[in-house]
């Protein structure tokens, strides 16, 4: 009930918005897949994104998930700006290469032609580069905050986006096919598990306790998604509908605030579609999730959404409640073509 109350007009921003997209544009060469898209998702709302094939819906998902950098525009998640144009990006390579080069230079100057000494300094420089470069590529949290303090900004990567609370499924199922259903969910829990490789190698009590508890929790996610008893089946051997469910279970295992579902009922029969729809409703009421849904099945969309946004050829052509969207002439036109006049 509260959710519908909160799902008041979506366009004006409130502090309680989970996601704010500002003027997102994405071009693939000459093709404009998204043009100046403004988008706001209030907390605990179910917002749907609809539109004809090729409208840019999946592209928008990929931009939010950090998989595709937008040509312009920015995205804020729970008040944090995660995706935006880079700032002072040129400074970063300097940070990496200056120290080893400096060491090498000093080495050459100091050793006065002694090749063995130069080699030793070279080795030292190499060692330094070996430490700096992979660290910079792995971008641990402390490194991030360090470069932020230097005024450098780079958009978050997909795993950072997951960390800040976004889980997603894929339109074309992308499971870990040769892993069991349970293992798929356990990978989804990756960021929620704390034990390090050293813990694992030493098999510390903490590690064993965490693993055991993780398996129990993973089984619970499977059950929630309607996959009870399928734990040990390889993902590739699951029937199509169960693979879609497993994708949802894996996305839930990240404990997201915002769940992105890309056509979760595609290819499902009416009974399965009903089950998935009910599941999405439960995710909001029971887990308090916010859901952004791409869906072609209008019964699902109209039945469950608080707000609907319609994309057509990369443009947002309408936004409103299901009732408003149903009556919107531009939407009808986009879906059915221009009525003969």
């Amino acid at each position: 009930m509260t959710a519908t109350a909160q799902a008041a007009p979506a366009v004006p921003e409130t502090p309680d918005d989970v996601l704010i997209a500002r003027s997102i544009t994405k071009q693939f060469g000459g093709l404009v897949a998204l043009r100046n898209i403004e988008f706001v998702i209030p907390r605990r709302a179910i917002v749907s994104l609809i539109g004809p094939n090729g409208a840019g819906k999946t592209t928008f998902f990929n931009v939010i998930a950090g998989l595709i950098p937008p040509t312009s525009g920015s995205i804020e998640l729970s008040g944090m700006r995660l995706i935006a144009p880079a700032r002072r990006a040129w400074l970063e390579p300097l940070l990496w290469f200056a120290p080893p080069l400096l060491v090498l230079l000093i080495g050459i100057l100091v050793s006065g032609g002694n090749i063995q000494l130069v080699a030793l300094w070279g080795l030292l420089a190499l060692l330094l580069a070996t430490l700096i470069l992979p660290t910079a590529m792995a971008r641990p949290a402390w490194y991030e905050s360090f470069i932020r303090r230097l005024g450098i900004f780079r958009s978050a990567r997909p795993n950072d986006i997951v960390r800040s609370g976004v889980g997603r499924t894929f339109q074309n199922i992308r499971l870990f096919h040769n892993m069991t259903a349970l293992e798929n969910v356990l990978v989804g829990m990756h960021l929620k598990l704390r034990s390090t490789p050293v813990d694992a190698v030493l098999s510390t009590p903490r590690h064993r306790a965490e693993e055991e508890e993780a398996r129990v929790r993973a089984a619970r996610y499977l059950e929630l998604a309607g996959l009870r008893g399928r734990d040990d089946e390889l993902a590739r051997n699951l029937p199509y509908g169960d693979q879609r469910r497993l994708e949802i279970a894996r996305a839930l295992a990240c404990e997201p605030v915002l769940l992105l579902l890309d056509e979760p009922t595609a290819g499902m029969n009416p009974r399965e579609t009903g089950e998935i729809t009910a599941l999405i409703g439960r995710l909001r009421t029971e887990l308090g999730l916010t859901v952004l849904l791409i869906e072609h099945d209008m019964r699902v969309v109209m039945g469950i959404s608080d707000r609907i946004t319609v994309l057509d050829q990369g443009e947002r052509i309408a936004e409103g409640t299901p009732e408003e969207i149903r009556r919107n002439p531009r939407v009808i036109e986009a879906y059915l073509g221009k009525p003969p006049s």
Partner: protein, 388 residues
Amino acid sequence: MTRQRGTVEDSETGATALGSTDRLFDFFGRHRSVAIMAAMLLVAIALPLIVLAPPFSGFNTQGVWIDNFNGAGIYVLLALGLNVVVGLAGLLDLGYAAFFAIGAYTYGLLASSFYGIHVPFWPMLIVGALVAALFGIALGAPTLRLRGDYLAIVTLGFGEIVPVVFTNSDALTNGTNGISGVDRPSLPGIIFGASNPVPFYVTMVVMLTIVLILLYRLQDSRLGRAWMAIREDELAAASSGVNTITTKLLAFALGATTSGLAGVFAASRLVFVSPDQFGFTVSFTILAMVVLGGMGNIWGVAIGAFVVFIVQSVVLKQLTNFLQPLNIPFLSSIDFLQYQFLLFGIALVAMMLLRPEGLFPSSRRRRELHTAQGDDLSSPQESAEPLT
């Protein structure tokens, strides 16, 4: 209530009905590290005894056999390390021998009269492994954005560069001639030597046991799952929160560590290091061992490497020696050792055609291939998948 009690009793009688072998398996299932230790101990004791029996006793003396086992152990270590990179993380590395070389040279340079530095063997095991790990990270870093074929070609390049660097830095590494007079390990009261391979043998068995336990534990951890996730679908792994860069670097580092260990051991066993010990054939042999053994299955890879090495270095020679005096036309004139890579190639091709999952596939892969054959055309899932 009564029914419930009934089931409890049933399961209790079931438990007592368990045979002692079942209980043993159950115990080892729960205590895998103990099982690995027990298995390694058994194998380590059995192998030197088996070779006393014909036909093995006719091939070599026990001492030579044990020395061969030490050589095989080196390759088992190498294959186990490469299995992490290729089998678990799915990163095709064609230049893996580079880290073997780095481990061996680290020991060769720091424990020989070449520089007059003589660091003892035992700490050098760790140093060699760490240096190799560092290079694993250094060489891994530029390849992280590459996939599949491109990655393979870049690692192939590294595999070639490293021996060439050792060859051409005459002043630092004695070039083509290599470093001779490398120190043997030493322990009070124990002599490590060519005539006494047993101490090396014990060392190798202990090293292998530790590495096996470590690998099994890692494979079943958060990191192991992340490796497999990257192998299966890198993009989905990243979208599940896996830091693909760190995870891949750790695979490279761990593979290199194992290889470095093998390198230090090899250098001290042969008391000699030279660049031509680490050519492409070595990288290729290790990769073939992993594939033949069954990618991703730790035991399979270990057994595969052991068998391949023994066939290469013992069986082929014995076959030649055995056939020569028999005067069979054609067959007796073949030197099988010369054709070892031909035979190797044939074995690989045959394997890919007949048993693509390797000799000892991981249960996972076997299931996968099994079902793939089972429901070839009648699978309704494929057709139900929408294309958009």
